[in-house]
Structure formats: C-alpha cells, structure tokens
C-alpha cells in the first residue's frame, strides 16, 4: 500500500474519537477527526476520504442529515458511509439509516476485531465496485417524518439518560459528602490534617486544621515557606531527606517526625505520612498527598518511658553494691558493673557465669536448691565469693525473688564487707595494745607540757631580759661618754690611768654585747629568707672571727652542696655562736673542722671541735637559756642558735664525747624545695 487508507471519523464525544483513533491507527489507517457533520463535510471537500464513520446524535449537522447530504453529493456518494453508534439505538434507527442509503450500521459496543472486519469488508466492496450504497429514493416527506421520529426517540432517550446521570451524580455527590464528613470527623478525632503538594513547584495546600493545631490562623500558615519558617532548624534536613528517599523510590512512603513551633513559641512534635499520588513521567510533575499527625503526646510518653528506663539503668549501674539477677538455673540474667568489678570479670564474662562459679563455699546442689526456694520475702546472709584472680571476698547478700516476664528471677544485692571485716579485726588487735599506747601518749603529753612550761618561762624571761637590757644601756652610755672624756683628758704620759680607762671602755663594749644577745633572744625574730651560699657565709664568719692561737681551722664542702633557703643574717648569727663556742671549747689548742654536705633532710653544716666535750649529764641542759659551764658568757649562744635554726625551718644536732670534742650540726632547708622530707 503506497498510500494509507484515509478514514474520516465524526463524533461529538472526545472519548469515542480517541478510542476509534487508537483502534484504527493501530490497524494502519490514516484518520481525519471531526466533531460534527458540517466539520466533516468541510474536511471531506478538502481531502476526500476512503470511508466515513459517523455518530448519529451530534450538535449542528447530525448523522442522519450528514448521511443524506453525503449520498446526494456527486463527489462523495460512492464513498462508503458507516454509522457507528450506541446511544439509544432503536431497531428503527438501523432500518432508517439503511433506508437513507448508508453502507453499514454498526452498533456499539462492538468488539474491535469485528469492527475492523466490517470496515475492511466495506472498503473491499468499495474498491471492487460492489458496494451497495445508493441515495435513498425516499420521498422528502417520508424522510422527514422518519427523521423526526428517530430524533424525537433519541432526544427522549437522551433526556432519560441525562436524568439517570443526574441521579447518579446526586448519589455520588451525597456519598462524597458522607465520605468528606467521615474523613473530616476522623481527621479531627485523630488530631490529623491533610496536605497536598505539587512537585517540582513545591506548592502546598494545607488543611486549615494544620494551622489550627499550631494555634495560627489559616492565613498565617498557608505556604511551604510558612511551614519551613516554623520548622525546628535541626529537623529541616531530615524532612528533605525523607521526601527525597520517597521520590527516589527508596522509601515506600514519605514518613518523618519533626518539631514545629506553635503560636505560643513552644514546639510540637508532628509526624507526616504521604505518598506520590500522581506522576507524569514526561514532565516530571508529581503530586504528593498525605496527612500530618500531632504526636507530641506520644513523644512525651515515649520520653517518659525512656527516662524511666534510663533511671532504672542508672540506679542499677551507680549502685555502690554489686547487683546480680539470677535465673532459675542459677545463671546470670543480668549483673551491674559493680558486681563484675567486685569479682574481677568483664561484664561479658560475668553474663556467662553461674552462681557456683563464685560462691565456692556452698555445693552446687545446695545452691540450686537455695535459688529455687528464695521467695519474695527474700533472705539475708553473709558468705564468701571467689574472684576471677582467686582472691576471696567477704560478702553480705540480700536476696529476693520476683516474677519478671514470665520467669522467676532472684535479685541479689551483694556488699563487699572484706574491708569492714579487716577493720574490725584490726580494731580488736589495736584495742589489745591500747594500754601500751595510753602510757606512751601520757609520756608524750607530759613531755609536751614540760616543754610548754619551759617555753612560757622563757617568754617571760625574754620580756624581762628585754627591758632590763634596754634600761642598762642608758647608764652604760653615760659610762661610755665619761670614759671618752677621761681618755681625751688624760695626759699621754699617764699610761697607767690610760690603761685602766681602756679597760673600762672594753668592758662597756662587752656588757653591751651581752645586752644585745639578751635582746636578740627576747625578740621574736623576723625572717627574711633567701638563697644562701653556705661555703661563702662560713668564710665570711671565719673572717670576722679569726681562730685563737693554736687552733687549726679546716673546711670542706661537698661539690653538690646546694644552697640553703634561710635568713642569711640568722645563719650568720648561728654560725658565729657555734664557731665561737667551739673556739672556747679548745682553750689551749685543737682543730676545728667545718664540713658542708647534702643530706636527705637538707643542708648539713657540721662544726666539729677537738675540745673538752660535754658531760652526758649536761647534755640535756645545753640549749637551756642562761645555762653555762664557762667562766665568761651568760649562756645564750646555743639557745639563740637553736631558736634561729628553728625559726628558719631547721634544727641543730649535737654529738659529743667528753675530752674528745663535740660536733654541732646545723641542718637547714635546701633552696628550691629539694628536701626529700
């Protein structure tokens, strides 16, 4: 076939046109579509078809009239005219149609194969020239009579159909109203609202109820922007993702929970569920419809449940006692961290254990019996548990049973009383020694009291010494002045008088030194500590205090000797006192050894003489003020040295052998806090 067979179709019903188009095009025909008779005539004049298929009832020129004109037209009358109609078809219509001269009358509905067969048959006849189609020889009046009758019939039928359709519409309307009512009521009862979204434009229509649920007026909540503006910022990405997943086919429905701000400023939890309802593959346009539910109450309840579970978990986990829950077979159902820690297992390990794995004292059969016999009243007893590492713990257990999830479970609260028992034992041992201790303490107390009395005495004496010293300075001053005048006035040749005047002057100086010592001892020393180089200071003191004749001085300082941290003036005073004492202990001759070294408790400066030594019975008194065995001095040198050493955080240690010598060791804190103690 070079050229396709062209068929003209006339029908005022678009759906009919469409169906015929699909059917005929599918069978290889070319088509021209018209909506009424006049259109058809016009189209046929432009391009005469090979066949025309026409409906009957159409606006403008109907099928009957078209057929009459068609067959009376010289140009068309040989072209086959086929009626194809369903509506209100009366047998009379068919005979009238054929009377008019139409080639065929096909009644709807007709199976496609049959329809096509008829069309082919007609076309074959037309091409073979055997088609019987001739214009009616009906008289004009008869035609019009039949034509009118047929049309009236059809109009009546149409009216009937319209009424029926109307009735159906009414019913439909009614059921739609009922449905809407039911849906509305259901949504309201369920605190739900619908929404309807177009994509990709993103245009959304919200049920007014959504605004109402959040306390807004419908105007305030009508666009997608209104929605995103009120959305909790954290939840926005979640919503986008859920929608994307649904659009991508990863999720069967679009379902997401999110927070949205109410008119009062607080947030409500909403859940959206929706799905694509329409999709145009060509344009990519889609429609997604769904509902939104206020799930704030569920969320609240959910949170409460979660909190409660957490609290329960915390209570168990933070318990200072070990908690283990056993099943009827003696296996661990659950144990807290503390219990695992007590026994030295991990929680994973403990979950696989049985009661007899740690309660080693009682035989397994007895333990099983105990597990089965525990009731809700419970039990309380002491036992011993074995740790993973073999260590033994004293344990106090409280147990009771409860049915949980259909099985009886034994709750055991285990307290480690090992320490308590040990303490109790130690306490008992301790009380046995108590008497001894009391005696010891009493002695120490007495000693402390004695020291306190001594200190108090000293303080009083110090005050007294202070005021006496000061008062003595005035008359000494006068003597001093007078001697000066005397010396100045004495003639140079009166040597004897001058000698005695000098004697007075030197004794005044000595008296003043004693007074200064007294004052120094009475005064509460103020310290100004710094880093003190001991070797340097010793050298300086020795310069001010040269050894008497016959006394040999040797010094040695350890290489690693650290500086002391003390008041330099005080240290100088201490060393001066100790060294001058040493000199005095060696009235005839001897060796003074000064040695500096670093010890654990500080810097040690030992001053060792080879002098007379101290008699053992005198040893306790040497630091007592005003105690002296010497003809000169008032017995304040050592007390002052001791006091100053203590003021600087140090002390003085004495070792002495009569007739061999004494060693006084000054111990001072190291600079930089290096002391080990």
């Amino acid at each position: 076939m070079d050229k396709k067979v062209n068929i003209l179709i006339v029908d005022d019903n678009e759906q009919n046109l469409y169906l015929l188009k699909v059917l005929l095009e599918g069978n290889g025909y070319a088509l021209t579509l018209c909506r009424n008779g006049n259109e058809a005539l016009e189209a046929a004049r432009l391009n005469p078809p090979d066949l025309i298929i026409s409906d009957i009832l159409m606006p403008g020129l109907d099928g009957f009239a078209l057929c009459r004109q068609w067959l009376s037209d010289e140009k068309f009358k040989k072209i086959p005219f086929v009626f194809y109609t369903a509506t209100y078809t009366d047998p009379k219509d068919e005979s009238f149609s054929l009377d008019l001269g139409a080639a065929r009358f096909i009644r709807k509905p007709q199976e496609p194969e049959k329809f096509i067969a008829i069309i082919k048959e007609v076309l074959n006849e037309y091409q073979a020239g055997t088609l019987k189609q001739s214009p009616s020889d009906l008289k004009e009046e008869i035609f019009y009579k039949q034509y009118n009758e047929s049309l009236i019939r059809k109009m009546e039928d149409k009216l009937l159909e319209l009424e029926k359709a109307n009735q159906q519409l009414e019913e439909l309307n009614q059921s739609s109203k009922t449905l809407t009512y039911r849906i509305e009521a259901g949504l309201r009862a369920g605190n739900l609202a619908w929404w309807d979204m177009e994509l990709p434009s993103g245009k959304v229509t919200f049920d007014n109820r959504k605004a109402e649920m959040l306390g807004y007026s419908p105007d305030e909540f009508s666009t997608y922007e209104d929605f995103t503006k009120l959305l909790h910022p954290e939840d926005h990405p979640k919503i986008m993702q859920a929608m994307q997943d649904h659009l991508d086919g990863k999720a069967e429905v679009y379902e997401v929970e999110y927070r949205i701000k109410t008119n009062s400023g607080s947030y409500k939890w909403f859940r959206d569920i929706g799905a694509i309802t329409e999709k145009n593959a060509a344009t990519g346009q889609m429609r997604v419809i769904g509902i939104v539910e206020d799930i704030s109450k569920h969320k609240e309840a959910e949170q409460k449940l979660f909190d409660e579970a957490l609290r329960h978990r915390n209570l168990m986990d933070q318990s200072r006692d070990g908690i283990v829950i056993l099943d009827q077979r003696g296996g661990v159902y659950e144990a807290n961290q503390r219990f695992a820690d007590m026994l030295g297992y991990s929680r994973e390990e403990i979950a696989k254990l049985h009661l007899w794995d740690w309660d080693y004292q009682i035989p397994k059969s007895k333990l099983l019996q105990m597990v089965r016999s525990v009731d809700e009243k419970g039990d309380h007893f002491e036992t011993q548990h074995k740790r993973k590492d073999g260590g033994i713990l004293d344990i106090e257990i409280s147990t009771n049973a409860a049915v949980f999830a259909g099985q009886k479970l034994i709750f055991c609260v285990c307290r480690d009383i090992t320490e308590r028992k040990r303490t109790a034992q130690a306490l008992e041992e301790y009380s046995n020694h108590l008497e001894e201790l009391v005696e010891e303490r009493t002695r120490a107390l007495e000693q402390a009291q004695q020291e306190l009395i001594t200190k108090e005495k000293l303080a009083t004496m110090g005050q007294l010494a202070g005021s006496v010293g000061h008062e003595l300075r005035n008359p000494l001053g006068v003597i001093n002045n007078a001697v000066y005048i005397l010396e100045a006035s004495l003639p140079a040749e009166n040597k004897k008088a001058r000698e005695f005047a000098q004697m007075i002057a030197s004794q005044v100086k000595k008296s003043n030194r004693i007074i200064s010592d007294l004052l120094a001892f009475a005064k509460e020393p103020e310290t100004s500590k710094s880093v003190v180089d001991i070797a340097h200071l010793v050298k300086q003191v020795l310069q001010n205090l040269p050894p008497p004749q016959g006394v040999d001085v040797k010094t040695s300082f350890a290489r690693n000797l650290p500086p002391a941290y003390a008041d330099a003036q005080h240290v100088e005073q201490i060393l001066t006192n100790l060294i001058s004492n040493a000199y005095q202990a060696m009235p005839h001759a001897g060796t003074l050894q000064i040695q500096g070294k670093k010890e654990k408790d500080g810097v040690h400066i030992a001053i060792k003489d080879s002098g007379v030594g101290i008699q053992p019975e005198n040893m306790p008194k040497i630091f007592t003020p005003l105690y002296t065995t010497k003809a000169t001095g008032i017995g304040l040198g050592l007390p002052i040295a001791k006091k100053l050493a203590e003021t600087n955080g140090g002390r003085i240690k004495v070792e002495s052998i009569p007739n061999q010598g004494s060693t006084f060791t000054l111990i001072l804190p190291m600079a930089g806090g290096q002391n080990d103690q």
Binding site: H470, E471, R473, N474, L476, G477, V478, I479, N480, N481, A482, Y484, I485, A488, S489, V508, N512, L519, K523
Partner: protein
C-alpha cells in the same frame, strides 16, 4: 679650737647631757643642754643652733615630738636622735619626720662626732 657652731643636747638624764656637752666642748663646739622637751623647745626659740641632738625616750615630750615641734618653727635645723631602744617604733617615726641620723646608746663617740661635723659642713655649704 673653738668654732662658731652652737649645739643643743637634750636628754632627761642630766649625766648624759653633762658628758655629751663636755665631749662637744672638748671638740670646740659651744653647747647648750636641756633636760626636757619643753625646755629644749624654749631654747630653740630663743637661740640659733647649728644642730639639735635629742634622746627619744623622755617624759612629757619625747624626742620625736620635740622634733615635730622644732620643725614647725625652724624647719631646716639639723636634728639627730639618740636612743637606748634599738627596736623602737619611734625611731622609724623620727626618720619619717626628718631626723638626719638615729644613734643607739651606748654611743660610738667617734662616729657621732664624724656625723655632726659632716652635717655642719653640708649645712654651711647650703
């Protein structure tokens, strides 16, 4: 060996004023003495001195009070304090009020004479 400088020595112990007056006289100074603060103040008012030497601890008016009173009428008159009390708070107060030197008794006479000579030399330069 006399010089034109006149000193005022103040001490409530007359033996002190007597001996100090004798020492300064030996060195050629003219010396007046006073045995109380008010007496000394009266003398300062009526006589021009080159320097005042005063004990601190005295009844009625102590040396520092005297110093303050003297400052009020003769602000530039050199003033030396003497005391037997080495840790007296009054010493610090005296220094703050403008005492040039504070000496502790018994006095080192040579030192005292040296100080006085230097003070008077500086004063003369001024």
């Amino acid at each position: 060996m006399t010089n034109r400088h006149r000193l005022l020595v103040v001490d409530d112990d007359p033996l002190n004023t007597l001996t100090l007056s004798e020492i300064f006289s030996l060195k050629g100074y003219q010396v007046d003495t006073a045995n109380s603060g008010p007496d000394a103040l009266e003398k300062v008012r009526n006589q021009d001195y080159s320097c005042v030497l005063s004990d601190i601890k005295m009844d009625k008016m102590n040396g520092v009070e005297l110093l303050i009173a003297v400052r009020a009428i003769k602000p530039s008159l050199p003033f030396i304090l003497m005391t037997a009390y080495s840790d007296d708070d009054l010493i610090l107060q005296g220094i703050r009020e403008g005492a040039l030197i504070t000496l502790i008794k018994p006095l080192d006479i040579e030192r005292l004479l040296g100080h006085v000579a230097r003070i008077l030399k500086i004063d003369a330069l001024n």
